[in-house]
């Protein structure tokens, strides 16, 4: 069953002017539940733009994005926020966590916004942190953790809301190779064991090698999909 469908997506910055940029130039894409997909391509090829539009953070110039039968390109700003909260997990390259909250509180926070009761939140947050191998760091704040640990908290946070899929824009860009491998192990594991759908962008060949599907973008177009 496909959970993400994009139809004829265009994103054009500064349309009509001399500095017009076609960040997305007609993207048709279909992603099924349980995929572990990498989006690759040279810098400026439109990876971030695509992920942002799929994630409802940005609107396309034309075309549509359908997630589980909801055409999110038709939602207004408030509906989008709510949709993101309940359907999509995000892992960014950096600045993922709330600096003044501990790892546990960061993971709990998203469930709190969903209105989960406290005992349930705490239990699940602890489980998730254990799943990403951070059961001993639960009470640390982000600035007391390594970059790799922070990204793992971000993955736990992304999963806490029980999303349909997780979007990760270059999640390993700031990590050393050991942390990168660790993070990918965790993501691959969650994908295999829990069936969590992951879509991530990357430049890193080692990351690309772990993906089960690789979509290559160039100049805002899909040039390969294998």
């Amino acid at each position: 069953m496909s959970i993400i469908t994009t139809k004829d997506l265009f994103k054009i910055y500064n349309a009509g002017s001399e500095i017009e940029v076609r960040a997305l130039n007609g993207v048709d894409l279909n992603i099924k539940e349980g995929e572990f997909t990498a989006i690759v391509g040279p810098s400026g090829s439109g990876k971030t733009t695509l992920l942002n539009i799929i994630g409802g953070l940005d609107q396309p110039t034309s075309g549509s994005v359908i997630i589980n039968e909801t055409e999110i390109t038709n939602l207004n700003a408030n509906q989008l926020i709510d949709f993101r909260l309940h359907n999509i997990g995000f892992v960014f390259q950096a600045y993922n966590l709330i600096p003044v909250l501990t790892a546990l509180e960061n993971v709990e926070f998203i469930m709190m916004m969903q209105g989960e009761p406290q005992d349930l939140r705490q239990k699940r947050a602890k489980e998730l942190l254990k799943a990403v191998g951070l059961e001993r760091e639960t009470n640390k704040r982000p600035n007391k953790m390594s970059g790799g640990q922070q990204q793992r908290v971000a993955v736990a946070r992304a999963l806490a809301s029980k999303p349909k899929f997780v979007l990760a824009d270059e999640p390993t860009a700031n990590l050393d190779s050991k942390s990168t491998a660790q993070l990918l192990d965790i993501m691959a594991n969650l994908n295999k064991e829990e069936g969590t759908t992951f879509i991530f962008s990357t430049h890193d060949q080692r990351v690309i090698d772990r993906a089960r599907r690789v979509i290559t973008l160039d100049d805002g177009k899909i040039i390969a999909d294998e």
Binding site: T48, G55, L57, N78, Q93, I98, V100
Partner: protein
């Protein structure tokens, strides 16, 4: 929402210097506002009390004609009845009858127009504090023949000292010119040099004898046990002696009452200016705090923090800062004002100008409790309003832009 409040609280301690600057400026604003207010109120209160104690007393009674034209012929028409009414009134603590005549005083140095206040020294002491304001000499205790107590300013102009001879002249009831030699027994200095320049005190007996004014009264000054009783006593006396005009101090010198009212509006305007500057500071600082955290706020919006929560978070941050600052500012101002209310602030450097306005050189700040309350309220309100601008700004962040801008 509790979580949001917790985050907001922790957020304000992330940049301690900035939070301190905001807190400090609120404290300073409150302190400056309250202190200037207390100073102004104290000044006014002192001016009012000074005027009442020295010149006005609580209640004055005249012939109705005397008020527009203080003429020697406008004496109180039924003195016996009037005095009886005063004696019977339980709320009259003391009163003093005065014979008042406009005249001239002269020495070898010159002649000046003055108001001759014929008083009974013992009575007068109870309604006015002039006898405590002598800079030299005595108050009608030493000289047997025609003693006079004159103001410092007049003494300077006349070149008179204690024991100096001065000549007083005036027109009596028959328009005959009366002249008599007096001797300066005391020289007083009140807080108003304009008053000192114009008012000479002599014994009522002397004035009555010279001017053939026996039994005539131009003015009765009375005081009540408390200033709060004045209105009520004025009313009841006026009923008892309908032929005379009974006035409370605030009717005799309405400008003092107006000054009080005007002062409080000036104070609020002043406070408004301070608070405006404060709001400006808060808005700027909080805007900076938001721009600095764009990516973090963008992340929060991306993962699903809704606008109400984001907005509340920023508003709470500002409110927390002010709720730390306001009590500190209040306490500081309170201690400061109390200290100086006790000790006084010496303004004698600038006092020359003040004295001619009836203001003494040492100011005792004074602040009724309700002003603390209204200023607190105003400050909190302003802090709240100024938090809305940055909070609104945060809402306008585009999550995609905010997370992208690395």
């Amino acid at each position: 929402m509790i979580q949001i409040i917790k985050i907001a609280w922790r957020n304000i301690w992330r940049n301690k210097l900035r939070s301190f600057v905001v807190i400090f400026s609120i404290v300073l604003g409150i302190w400056a506002g309250l202190f200037i207010m207390a100073l102004t109120l104290g000044l006014n209160e002192q001016r009012m009390n000074g005027a009442i104690n020295t010149y006005l007393s609580h209640i004055q009674i005249h012939n109705p004609d005397y008020i527009n034209d203080p003429n020697i012929k406008s004496y109180i028409s039924q003195p016996e009845q009037t005095l009886a009414a005063l004696r019977q009134n339980k709320n009259i603590k003391a009163f003093s009858e005065r014979t008042i005549v406009m005249g001239m005083v002269s020495s070898s140095k010159g002649a000046y127009g003055v108001r001759l206040m014929g008083i009974n020294p013992e009575q007068e002491k109870q309604v006015s504090d002039i006898h405590t304001l002598l800079t030299s000499g005595t108050y009608f205790t030493k000289f047997k023949r025609n003693p006079a107590v004159i103001g410092q300013k007049l003494a300077d102009k006349l070149g008179a000292k204690v024991r100096s001879k001065i000549v007083i002249s005036f027109q009596d009831l028959n328009n005959d010119i009366i002249s008599a030699a007096f001797r300066v027994e005391g020289i007083y200095k009140s807080s108003s040099s304009r008053y000192d320049e114009y008012n000479i005190f002599i014994k009522r007996d002397d004035l009555n004898r010279l001017g053939h004014l026996n039994g005539k009264i131009h003015e009765i000054a009375a005081i009540c046990p408390s200033i709060n009783q004045v209105d009520e006593v004025v009313k009841s006396l006026q009923v008892a002696i309908p032929d005379s005009k009974v006035q409370g101090w605030d009717e005799v010198a309405p400008e003092l009452g107006y000054a009080q009212e005007m002062m409080s509006s000036v104070i609020y305007i002043f406070m408004g200016i301070i608070l405006f500057a404060l709001a400006f500071g808060i808005v700027n600082t909080m805007l900076m705090a938001i721009l600095e955290r764009r990516r973090e706020l963008g992340m929060l919006m991306s993962v699903g923090m809704n606008k109400i929560k984001l907005f509340s978070m920023i508003v709470f941050e500002t409110i927390f800062l002010s709720s730390i600052a306001v009590p500190v500012g209040m306490l500081l101002s309170y201690l400061f004002i109390q200290y100086f209310a006790h000790k006084g602030i010496d303004l004698s450097v600038a006092a020359k100008g003040l004295e001619s306005l009836g203001i003494s050189a040492i100011i005792y700040p004074y602040m009724p409790g309700h002003y603390y309350f209204s200023i607190t309220l105003m400050t909190v309100l302003v802090a709240f309003l100024s938090s809305l601008v940055p909070a609104k700004k945060a809402l306008n962040l585009n999550p995609a832009e905010a997370v992208r801008s690395i």
